[in-house]
């Protein structure tokens, strides 16, 4: 009874300002665009079929590729860092973790702008490289998929490091030492001991990076330019520029479907890990 009264305000708020708007997007995704940009209430699946049009499919594939590449790069960069932190004395672990977290709490626009400043043709990296005589003329990295990739890795690296650290910290150093003592070669220690035993952290980190990368908006918008659109930008474009709300809504739902598939994978991985622990 009391629980109901306590929950009601939050539930009403989220019902009206979250569930209802999402439901509206869902309904509109089956309508079609009116002549002047409004919504015409005809039921059709045309918007969803339109998503597989090569033009839009290309943007979806680019988003998936960039999100995947971001995930792999974060894993490769983050693993040594997480391993190093997890093997430090406890006092220092907190300091290093804080150092990893601080950039994450800095305004995302500012962090993305920092890379615009670095990567521009007349930016710092080009100026430095030309000053050192490494290159003769500036390289245009800004407004390319490479720039978006750098921005995404930069933005989401902390999401990878934290779960990896948590997993490695629980891996007893004696297990790794045992592998060395039994003359396992370095690759076997890594692939057959460390990786299998930290797999829950690897899965968690990968999903925590993959999900926001897939739905990214600011990074491709500022670093990618018009030629490196990702799904997030396509949605914004359909809503605000083309004013085709029904199609924009359909794209949103496809994106949400992909993201929720990722979340489900995470929940299942988490569940199987718990089960494993209980059995032990």
């Amino acid at each position: 009874m009391l629980a109901g009264w306590l929950l009601a305000p939050a539930l009403c708020w989220m019902g009206v300002f979250f569930v209802l708007p999402l439901a509206l997007v869902f309904v509109i995704s089956f309508a079609s665009r009116g002549t002047y940009g409004g919504v015409e209430w005809t039921f059709s699946l045309a918007n969803y079929l339109n998503v597989v049009d090569p033009l839009y499919l290309k943007i979806f594939l680019r988003s998936l590729t960039l999100a995947l590449a971001t995930t792999v790069l974060c894993l490769v960069l983050g693993f040594p860092l997480a391993y190093y932190i997890a093997r430090l004395p406890v006092r220092w672990q907190g300091v290093w973790l804080l150092l990893v977290m601080i950039p994450f709490w800095t305004n995302f626009l500012v962090r993305t702008y920092a890379w615009m400043f670095m990567l521009r043709a007349e930016g710092l990296l080009n100026t430095l490289a030309m000053g050192l005589g490494l290159i003769a003329s500036p390289i245009e990295i800004l407004y390319s998929p490479a720039a978006v990739l750098i921005g995404l890795v930069y933005g989401y690296l902390p999401f990878m490091v934290l779960p990896l650290y948590a997993a490695i910290e629980r891996l007893a150093p004696s297990v790794v030492e045992a592998a060395w003592d039994l003359y396992a070669p370095a690759w076997a220690v890594f692939w057959r001991v460390i990786v299998p035993m930290t797999k829950p952290g690897i899965v968690a980190g990968c999903l925590l990076v993959f999900i926001p990368s897939l739905g990214a908006f600011i990074t491709p918008d500022l670093l990618g330019g018009a030629r490196t659109m990702m799904v997030g930008n396509l949605i914004q474009h359909e809503y605000l520029v083309v004013r085709d709300w029904p199609f924009g809504s359909a794209i949103s739902f496809v994106l949400m479907g992909l993201v929720l598939a990722g979340v489900m994978a995470y929940v299942r991985a988490e569940g199987s890990r718990r089960e494993l622990e209980v059995r032990r």
Binding site: L2, A3, G4, L6, L7, P9, A10, L11, W13, M14, G15, F17, F18, V19, L20, P21, L24, V25, I28, G78, P80, L81, R87, W96, L98, L99, V100, P103, W105, T106, N107, L109, V110, Y113, A114, M116, F117, M118, R120, E122, G123, L124, T127, G131, Y154, L157, P212, G215, F217, I218, L222, I235, Y239, G248, S252, L255, M256, V259, L260, V263
Partner: protein
């Protein structure tokens, strides 16, 4: 063994360099006297002075603070009540309610933005600071719920039970025992929600009407048009402010759970 440690340390320092260098460079160049080039031309505070005189910017800061304050108050009140209900009074269908309360944390922010915009347009509520505030409260409620619940779970229920055994009413027990113990988490959540609201761009972008420019919207329009030292100076200030807010939030949440 030690060679491996050296290698790990080098890789870790490389990571930190990657994380910090761009922001550090940004801040250093906010003091650069040259307007255009990325070469150092001497120290100046000129760009900070330009910022202080920018009326539109100050108005945007004011809007941001207003939205941040209002949305944080709403999210805190709703979130704390919901967290207490979810943690202390289990009920049927709880999983569904939890799902609805957590979903905003995982769906792409662009989607939340367009959904809210569509909703406000169709109920003919003109886009303004009010709609921005509503949007911010919508993504801040789940954050408050998560943080406050985590703290509640760590509290010993025996404390509240002892109060009840000694004759306190349910409200008195909550007011005099549970609430003071929850305070650090509530303050931490409040600061975090405020910080996230101040930093939010995407939801604001879709739910703000003309004249409802917040600071991130202003930064975005500045960044979109040109790269100027003013933006560097503004960025430097924003970096310091969010660090201070997050630092305060961390200190508050770190306090040990004790009576």
């Amino acid at each position: 063994m030690s060679r491996r440690r050296t290698w790990l340390l080098a890789a870790s320092l490389g990571n930190l360099l990657f994380l910090y260098a761009p922001v550090a460079v940004l801040i250093v160049f906010s003091f650069n006297a040259s307007r255009l080039s990325a070469t150092w031309q001497g120290f100046t505070l000129q760009w900070y002075r330009v910022l202080a005189e920018d009326e539109a910017l100050l108005a945007a800061v004011q809007n941001s603070l207003l939205v941040g304050l209002a949305s944080t108050v709403i999210a805190t009140v709703l979130g704390v009540c919901a967290a207490v209900a979810l943690e202390r009074c289990p009920f049927r269908g709880q999983r569904v309610v939890e799902g609805v309360l957590l979903l905003p944390l995982v769906i792409p922010e662009v989607m939340l933005g367009v959904a809210l915009m569509l909703f406000f347009v169709s109920i003919q509520l003109p886009l303004s600071l009010v709609t921005v505030t509503i949007g911010h409260a919508a993504f801040n409620v789940p954050i408050v719920v998560v943080i406050v619940r985590a703290r509640l779970r760590k509290l010993d229920p025996a404390l509240e039970e002892a109060a009840r055994d000694l004759g306190a009413s349910a409200w008195q027990a909550f007011r005099c025992v549970t609430l003071p113990l929850l305070m650090p988490a509530i303050l931490g959540a409040t600061l975090l929600a405020f910080t996230i609201s101040l930093d939010d761009f995407i939801v604001t972008f879709f739910t703000a009407g003309p004249g409802a420019t917040t600071l991130p919207l202003k930064v975005y329009s500045m960044v979109k048009s040109t790269v100027t030292p003013e933006i560097n100076a503004l960025s430097a200030i924003l970096v310091l402010v969010s660090m201070a807010l997050v630092g305060a939030s961390l200190v508050l949440q770190r306090k040990p759970v004790r009576a």
